[in-house]
């Protein structure tokens, strides 16, 4: 098992943003994470990569317990993430953005440069390598998010709505990129609202609602499950925005 | 690029201003055939010491005008070049400008001891004279500078003079033996206050007095309640106090408010001698002592008629430019005395106007009296050992000289102070 989430709970004050979630993930797989707004998906990512300390439970990565570690330590162990709201280092060029993560594994400037460039190639952004990041458009920023994460040479990649706001051709593009990344042996957990995309990508899907895992299964199982349909359409969407 | 234009415009304007001014400065017309004799004045004209710095500069300007009217120095008109030095770094650069760029032979300065030492670092190299009439730190004349001439007393001497008077005369008047006398020392924490207070403390201990408290503060202080309460706790009979004007007034106000005025208040220079001190505090200032260079002396002290006329003319000219002031400040009087004496008494004695001759003239000339009320008698270190501090007292809003005997023009009143506590 690459990643093992065991009864993880995250509370903000009295509210549980994630409550008692458990699952396991094998190396090389793509796992989908869905649920209505405010279900706790992003919070779960924040817990896995150490941005937020968890309240209860344990997270094991590659046989090592990582809950309690700082996010930069976890990044060095091989978990990288992209942000839903893109967070480029706006005044650095695209390549420089990608190189920040590369220094995670190397001290050599030249090596970092080639790692960064490779990451940009993977997301098809190498032609924009010298552009200052704040001048990129949304699609390019989303790609840059992935490239930054990739350049840390992760074993596990957490992708948070990398397709939101993209045109359908861009979405197809992105699906292809994610497949390619996965093909190099990188395990992926993906949060996504675009159902076709996530259904076609994921081998298994976990559904969160109000912080709880309400089901886990293959895409087919999930799309036919009554609870999931209720969670999406039946009940009022929660107003609370956790993450 | 459009927005960059205003910036460029400002820079261009500046460049023209600078070159314009520079050109004007270099082409000074003396009105005589010979080249003008250049002297510099470096004072803090901006920053925290701007007030006295500007007054000193005015005084030096008046001195230069007087000298020029009387025919100049060695037949040459004197051209004054002024410089602003709010801190020692600026003083170094500005001294460099005056000495190396403008070619001045003498610098009058500099109010702040730190600036004086920094200027001396520049002037020493070329033998330009620094005539110091403001900075009192002992280090200035104890550091082996060859061309620094200090007309006024050292800080330690001033402090010691005040403390000595307390330990001798005032102890007597209070009927308290010096060994039973409790004195507290308060000083502002710049080098001025520190060096004067050091001198006072050393003397007080030497005379066996009890120094029950010593406190210092920054001149930017806005509330002295804590200081006064703390000092009052020590129950001093005498307060030795080194202040600038602002803090001096605040201190006395606060002492009065907390009914903590000691039996005797001995101010040591600067603020407590300033005409504004009594003017602001009013009748309650009667009986406050101030030890300082001789200040605001009655004209009849100057036996020499010419000198009397000079002093009177200076005071008149100065007050014309500072109509709000009651009297000429002591800093300005000293600045005038330094510049005027050096140009009219020392330089004529120098064979030529080269550094060696000027130095020789400065060290060998002995004067019984300068416009400051004491003589001129420099030691090899450049310190004027004829300089003394007077013991003065505020009486009816005027500074009355109590000591030394030869300058005395009034008797001591109000010991202990009527507004003293208890």
């Amino acid at each position: 098992m690459l990643l093992k989430i065991d009864s993880v709970t995250k509370k903000f004050g009295g509210l549980s943003a994630v409550s008692d979630v458990s699952f396991e993930l094998e190396e090389g797989k793509i796992l989908g994470l869905i649920g209505p707004n405010g279900a706790g998906k992003t919070t779960l990512f924040n817990c896995i990569n150490g941005t937020l300390p968890i309240t209860e439970g344990t997270i094991t990565f590659n046989g090592e317990q990582i809950s309690g570690k700082k996010s930069y330590q976890i990044a060095r162990l091989g978990i990288a993430r992209s942000y839903q709201v893109t967070q480029p280092f706006g005044n650095m060029t695209t390549l420089q953005n990608a190189m920040v993560g590369a220094f995670c594994k190397t001290k050599s400037y030249n090596e970092a440069e080639s790692i960064g460039l490779n990451a940009l190639k993977t997301v098809q952004l190498d032609h924009k390598a010298e552009i200052v990041a704040k001048h990129l458009n949304l699609g390019e920023r989303k790609k840059l998010e992935i490239a930054k994460a990739l350049s840390t040479q992760p074993k596990l990649l957490l992708l948070d709505e990398v397709m939101a706001g993209l045109t359908s051709t861009e979405v197809q593009d992105m699906v292809k990129i994610i497949r390619e990344i996965n093909a190099t042996g990188i395990t992926i957990i993906i949060i996504e609202h675009i159902m076709e995309a996530i259904m076609s990508l994921s081998e298994r899907i976990i559904v969160l609602n109000f912080g709880k895992k309400i089901m886990e299964g293959t895409p087919d199982e999930v799309s036919n499950d009554q609870r999931v349909i209720e969670a999406y359409f039946g009940v009022d969407e929660g107003d609370e925005e956790y993450a | 690029m459009k927005k960059f234009l205003p910036v460029l415009l400002v820079l261009v304007l500046l460049a023209t201003t600078i070159t314009g001014c520079g050109g004007g400065g270099n082409g000074g017309e003396g009105g005589t055939d010979s080249e003008p004799f250049k002297v510099g004045a470096i004072y803090p004209l901006s920053g925290a010491n701007a007030l006295l710095g500007n007054q000193c500069l005015t005084a030096v300007k008046i001195a230069v005008d007087m000298v020029n009217e009387a025919g100049g120095v060695h037949g040459r008109q004197v051209q004054l070049i002024e410089a602003d030095a709010p801190d020692p770094t600026a003083a170094t650069t500005e001294a460099g400008r005056l000495v190396d760029q403008q070619g001045v032979e003498i610098i009058f300065g500099s109010l702040a001891s730190g600036n004086a030492i920094a200027i001396a670092g520049v002037t020493e190299r070329t033998g330009v004279s620094l005539v110091e009439s403001g900075g009192v730190a002992d280090a200035l004349t104890d550091s082996g500078f060859k061309n620094v001439f200090r007309i006024l007393d050292k800080g330690s001497l001033r402090g010691a003079t005040g403390a000595n008077y307390v330990g001798t005369a005032i102890a007597d008047m209070l009927g308290i033996a010096p060994s039973d006398l409790r004195v507290a020392i308060i000083h502002e924490e710049s080098s001025y206050g520190t060096s004067v207070a050091d001198g006072a403390e050393a003397k007080a201990i030497e005379l066996g007095m009890n120094v029950v408290a010593r406190e210092h503060y920054a001149t930017t202080i806005t509330d002295m309640s804590a200081l006064v309460l703390k000092i009052n706790e020590a129950k001093p009979d005498v307060l030795l106090s080194v202040n600038y004007i602002n803090d001096a007034i605040l201190l006395v106000d606060t002492l009065k408010q907390y009914n903590a005025v000691p039996k005797v208040f001995m101010g040591l220079g600067a603020g407590t001698t300033d005409p504004n001190f009594a003017a602001t505090i009013g009748a309650d200032s009667d009986g406050f002592f101030c030890t300082d260079m001789p200040t605001n002396l009655p004209l009849d002290v100057f036996k020499d008629e010419e000198m009397r006329a000079t002093v009177s003319a200076f005071r008149e000219a100065f007050l014309e430019q500072y109509p709000d002031l009651l009297n000429v400040s002591i800093a300005a009087e000293a600045a005038f005395a330094g510049a005027y004496t050096f140009m009219t008494e020392i330089l004529p004695n120098a064979e030529t106007l080269d550094p060696e001759s000027i130095r020789e003239a400065a060290l060998t000339t002995k004067l019984d009296m300068t416009t400051l009320g004491f003589g001129w008698d420099l030691g090899d270190d450049g310190q004027n050992y004829a300089a003394s501090a007077n013991i003065n007292q505020w009486q009816g809003g005027e500074v009355v000289t109590i000591y030394p005997e030869k300058l005395k023009n009034g008797d001591v009143i109000n010991v202990p102070l009527p507004i003293a506590s208890e």
Partner: protein, 329 residues
């Protein structure tokens, strides 16, 4: 804010920096040479400040403290024990490093204005300590360095050796900055300055990165402090450690361009001569020179908040393009 890693195309700026040492030889007299020395020194100091504050975009308004530590350490060792300022400089660097570790360790995690204010607070506390520890520092009286020229005393009669010394200091700081720009530390630091959380998620240990840069910046500033003391030959707490000095670091850096290796140098090359000349030639009206200086700064900040460097680069690039174009024809 500008792209901080443009230094790849810095050849023109390198030429300016290296060639600037010729300038003092052509200046007519010691006054202008003095301004050149101060320009180099402040260029070095502002670059040192920039090493942390500029790249990481967190202003320190307390760097006069490290200037003071450098100045006082070497001066007290030299005056009291005759230890050469060259050694004193290292001692000052070590003390600054310790001070920066302590100060940085407690304040670097503060954000924005909080960090800025904490740097002011520490500098003020250090100034008060220097004034009150009279037995060691001579307090407000300051310390005077006797004039005994000699290489080992770091004192010279001529301004030229000082110009060389300050120029070398500036070049060394520049080299360190340029080197850092092409290193893990530089990338991490800039990333932290842009977005601390995002940088952490990419494996950047932000507190360690900031601390290293902060200490480097303090130590380099402290070296400049030693040179400053040996040049002015008189130091006192109220002027060396003044808030005005702390502010000067920033004014120079921001004028040239914060967070670029050469920005602070450009700032000092422009602003130090201007402010000295303004003071020299506008002293007839008290306060006019600082007033004008303030106006210039406000103009720069309102109209060119990225500093002058980007403008210069555009200008140079234009020149290069033009020359290429003419060659092409």
């Amino acid at each position: 804010m500008i792209n901080k890693l443009l230094s790849k195309n810095n050849s023109v700026l390198w030429i300016i920096a290296l060639a600037s040492i010729i300038v003092p030889f052509f200046l007519p007299n010691r006054y202008f040479q003095d301004i050149a020395v101060m320009t180099f020194l402040w260029a070095g100091l502002a670059c040192s400040w920039n090493l942390y504050s500029g790249y990481c975009n967190r202003l320190s308004i307390g760097h006069a403290a490290y200037l003071g530590i450098g100045a006082y350490s070497s001066t007290l060792l030299y005056v009291n024990f005759g230890i050469s300022p060259w050694i004193g400089m290292l001692a000052g660097g070590a003390i600054s490093a310790v001070a920066a570790l302590i100060i940085g360790g407690t304040t670097l995690r503060l954000k924005g204005t909080f960090f800025v204010l904490s740097t002011i607070a520490f500098a003020e506390i250090l100034k008060v300590m220097t004034i009150t520890s009279k037995d060691i520092t001579k307090g407000a009286l300051g310390v005077f360095i006797p004039y005994e020229p000699g290489f080992s005393n770091m004192i010279w009669a001529s301004k030229i050796p000082y110009a060389f010394l300050t120029w070398i200091y500036m070049i060394i700081v520049l080299l360190i900055c340029v080197k850092m720009e092409r290193s893990k530390l530089g990338y991490s630091l800039i990333a932290v300055g842009e977005n601390q959380e995002a940088a952490e998620n990419l494996g950047v240990n932000s507190s360690r990165t900031m601390l290293i840069a902060f200490v480097m910046s303090a130590v380099l500033t402290s070296f400049g402090g030693t040179i400053y003391a040996q040049y002015i030959m008189f130091i006192e707490p109220t002027s060396v450690m003044s808030l005005m000095n702390s502010i000067n670091f920033i004014l120079l850096a921001i004028t040239g361009g914060m967070g670029t290796a050469f920005g602070p140098m450009v700032g000092s090359f422009i602003l130090t001569p201007i402010s000295n000349l303004l003071r020299g030639y506008l002293s007839s009206v008290s306060g006019l020179h600082t007033f004008v200086l303030g106006l210039i700064l406000i103009a720069i900040l309102l109209f060119r908040p990225d500093g002058i460097l980007p403008q210069l680069k555009l200008f140079f690039n234009g020149l290069i393009k033009k020359s290429k174009a003419t060659k092409g024809v």
